[in-house]
Symmetry: C2
């Protein structure tokens, strides 16, 4: 049986143009979507660190790619700045470190940087630049293939369920392919299955409302945005048949670190006997993190909507803004990965990449 | 033992000034809070219907009061418009009906209107006006006393738990007293207990962020606003020790109709073994509604924040905006009422008012 054809990704969030010496990284500025589609052209690694920190580029797989391509920029900068080998390497190491630490939660970022650094050990000059670009391109290819595999395994897992809830944005905007959580939905739609996506708006930063609705719309997949708190009632009414989300990090014990509010989705699915799927490539599984309790949860401050709507300022409105939460493994029906559908209680050692992207 | 003293309500959302012939209903426009404290002076019942529909006056107990005072305006209008008795009564009945139906979910509104109409049957002219005003004042007094009783029973129920989550706004802004869900928290604070309130911002209309934080702040009770989806993670981390909410309607079987997102709070409490309290006066219990499935759930359209933040218009953003959801009785630890703490599995007949406010 021939593999079913895959649809094209509805959007390209990141692309390296040119060679390592003259090239640049093009990024879609995700903070401006859906109102404006602005492409950023980055030639300085510090600019890219800023893009990561202000969420212009976001999502676990895409953060890994940003890190890998960012190293190409960092090496070029270090060489261009001149000086002896020590000075070049010190400069490069500082930039690489800034890239790896730009955001702490998604394991993909620091892991991609580390993997590339290992791969180019001992190389210098042009050879090192070429090799760093080759590493990034290899990672991009692997992640695109992972998306395709997740699409197929996810479509199978969702068989018979067309009313699917998702939280945050784990689609084409966070990968070089069809996405993670959204990939199976794109494939089902492509095959003519009448899939409809319930999109949690995803407070506080509204990634569902702004980004998931945007890319589903570009692909022609029907969607409806809801408040995050509306999902349990819709499940009780029978309107939602399954949930599928991405992940920022999956721990050794199967705990899932993902956008705040994911845990609430998992609890609601559990209460209604609905499957709760987590779609993620191998690059998101982290054997070095034993459980969710070991993950630093980023806290933010300054959700614009809060202040806009009250006339308050961050100074007089007391908030807690955790960006992520932890969903315990027991609430996960299955992981959907490039290795197929995996049981959270029996994760194979092979899903925990130790020599990623090599 | 003397009853403990109660604090004053931090805000007065509604007050009738004057006699039935010359008086007016003063309302705090809750759509403008917290940025602006504007008092509306209403002398026309149609204006009040508009206020109810655009949520300037809101919350189950306060909607009942608005209905009862609105009848005074309606009767005065009908008399002033002149004509024979038939014409006066037809006009009054139409206004009364518009008041009763202004919003469907909170049982308090239609019930208060119906109870007042029963009480003044057979009366005409000034006597009817006086009697309608007396009914409204009696209802106000009873609701204020109910708040005080709920405060005391709730404070007892919360013994030893000072980190309390609430959803939406069920405070002084929705009653003529200390509120329902917030009443016990005001009392605990007044007694010197170091209570801290976690406030769900409560999407889509942000009543927690705009209103609950506002009135807690006026009373000096410490609070922190969170995204609705953050609560389960905070429970898992041990930061939240109990939840307390109000209700728009409590069904014969104990199902609770309340602001959308309440059900998610109840599920999260259940998953973490935390008590989930529903505070409500007798006027919110409705024996005529068998279960939550029998309640019409209002759907809204046009949450400003959604459109503001995407540059979209309601025409191109597909949303479902249910205003309420149903929490099944089995998830309710206890109801806190003027009759004390009640077990949802054994609600006494006496809590279901059949001759309300008489």
């Amino acid at each position: 049986v021939a593999r079913p054809p895959l649809p094209e990704p509805p959007v390209t969030p990141l692309a390296w143009r040119g060679g390592w010496r003259d090239g640049a990284l093009e990024l879609l500025d995700q903070t401006l979507l859906p109102a404006e589609e602005r492409t950023l052209v980055r030639r300085a690694s510090a600019d890219l660190v800023g893009d990561v920190q202000r969420l212009a580029v976001r999502g676990a797989p895409l953060l890994g790619l940003a890190g890998a391509y960012g190293l190409v920029l960092a090496w070029r900068e270090a060489l261009d700045a001149g000086g002896g080998a020590d000075r070049v390497h010190a400069r490069f190491d500082a930039s690489a470190s800034a890239l790896a630490r730009a955001r702490p939660t998604a394991i993909n970022l620091s892991r991609a940087v580390e993997a590339s650094l290992r791969a180019v050990r001992g190389l210098g000059g042009d050879a090192r630049g070429e090799a760093l670009l080759a590493c990034a391109r290899e990672l991009e290819l692997r992640e695109r293939e992972a998306c395709a595999a997740i699409a197929r395994h996810g479509a199978e897992a969702l068989t018979g369920r067309t009313q699917v809830l998702t939280h945050c944005n784990a689609g084409a905007l966070v990968t070089p392919g069809l996405g993670t959580a959204l990939a199976p939905l794109y494939l089902l739609h492509h095959r003519g299955t009448p899939v409809h996506v319930w999109v949690d708006e995803t407070r506080p930063l509204l990634q569902g409302l702004r980004l998931t609705a945007y890319e589903l719309g570009r692909a022609g997949v029907p969607w409806t945005v809801i408040s995050d708190g509306a999902a349990p009632g819709l499940m009780r009414a029978g309107a939602i048949e399954a949930a599928i989300v991405g992940a920022d990090r999956i721990c050794r014990n199967g705990d899932v670190v993902n956008k705040v509010g994911t845990y609430a989705v998992a609890l609601a699915c559990h209460a209604h006997g609905l499957p709760f799927f987590v779609a993620a490539p191998r690059s998101t599984f982290d054997a070095a993190t034993a459980t969710g309790a070991d993950v630093e949860i980023e806290e933010r401050r300054g959700d614009v909507a809060r202040y806009l709507l009250t006339g308050s300022t961050p100074g007089d409105l007391r908030t807690r803004e955790p960006a992520f939460d932890v969903t315990p493994a027991r609430l996960v029906t299955a992981f959907l990965t490039e290795q197929g559908r995996l049981d959270p209680a029996a994760l194979p050692a092979s899903i925990f990449a130790t020599d990623a992207f090599a």
